[in-house]
Subunit: 190 residues, 2 copies
Amino acid sequence: MNDDEARERLLAAAGQLFYARGIHAVGMDDIREAAGLPLKRIYQFFPSKDQLAEAYLARRDENWLAALARRVDRCRDPRQRVLAVFAFLGEWFATPDFRGCAFINVFGELGSSPTAAAQITRRHKQRLRRYLAGLANDAGAARPTMLAAQLLMLMDGAVVSAATGVNVRAAADARAAASTLLTAAARAGA
Amino acid sequence: MNDDEARERLLAAAGQLFYARGIHAVGMDDIREAAGLPLKRIYQFFPSKDQLAEAYLARRDENWLAALARRVDRCRDPRQRVLAVFAFLGEWFATPDFRGCAFINVFGELGSSPTAAAQITRRHKQRLRRYLAGLANDAGAARPTMLAAQLLMLMDGAVVSAATGVNVRAAADARAAASTLLTAAARAGA
DNA sequence: CATGCGAGAGAACGAACGTTCTCAGTGCAG
DNA sequence: CTGCACTGAGAACGTTCGTTCTCTCGCATG
């Protein structure tokens, strides 16, 4: 098998397993079986499980943000673009293998250790926050940075509520809150 | 040593370690050392690490909600009582050993397995949501259940933002958002 | 004082798992 | 045809860790 193809299958299989069960609960044998590759080959691509996990997070960071941007780009109106973020969440929550935010999960799993994974989590949330700040600014918010932080909190909170099953209407409720904040944050005369 | 005292020391030591590092990263030997109890005694109280972890979560559920209620009860005005929730968060975030929400962390650590721990997480969030609904109702919200869900999302999101270090002003920003939502949700004529 | 009884300290056991090694099979170069 | 480099499958190794076992010591009791 081609190297590129093998690497792709490896990352796809590892990503699915890591997300579904957490890093620690997935053994290298599980990944080997799912990817259909011998362990030797896996260790040629990534010399340790940790580095495979990092690649998983980096890849998910990229893919997830790209999917969000695609969903937002289906809207033109700046205000609708902000609200589309929560539509995206609602669609995500409804997928059968939804298990919360991979980065929040990994952060909880790795505890306080200042590993690369914790850093990747922070970077992911920072990228998301910057993206939201752009949307907030386009929507005419008086303080786009603060609004972005608030929207980010609503998003993460909605993910937690949905993942734990405490609120089946999490995305809709978060969207309503975002709408209220957007209205209140509208620049005078904008 | 007294049984009650030993049990108390065990739960205190295990709680601190579990919260700081996560369940899986803490070995029974670490707990033994921190509690100053022989393993035999520990296994007399809790026949497995899992059950000790459950006791840790149940205890933390109780203590954390009680601490929140104490903080809220320092205020009389219904609106201020809602906002006191976020003051409580700000004080919590500033404590040196803050490591996010223990329940969210455990949820991420245990993945999708429908264990007792996942159930305890949901129960904790449900209890918190009910408590918030009471506060929201007292504050005259038109739809206290939805407002409580939104406040809960702001709280969880703020915890995530603070724990990951993506926003050092998480509590203040969440409080501002809650204030806006509270104003918008005021019942006409209340 | 003799005697059992429970506690404490730590060794031991067994399983899980990340990582490496072995060995047989295969296609290619000379 | 012969040797060789590589691949794949799985065994093996070493470590970690949850759990249990062993042995010794102190102590209360008759």
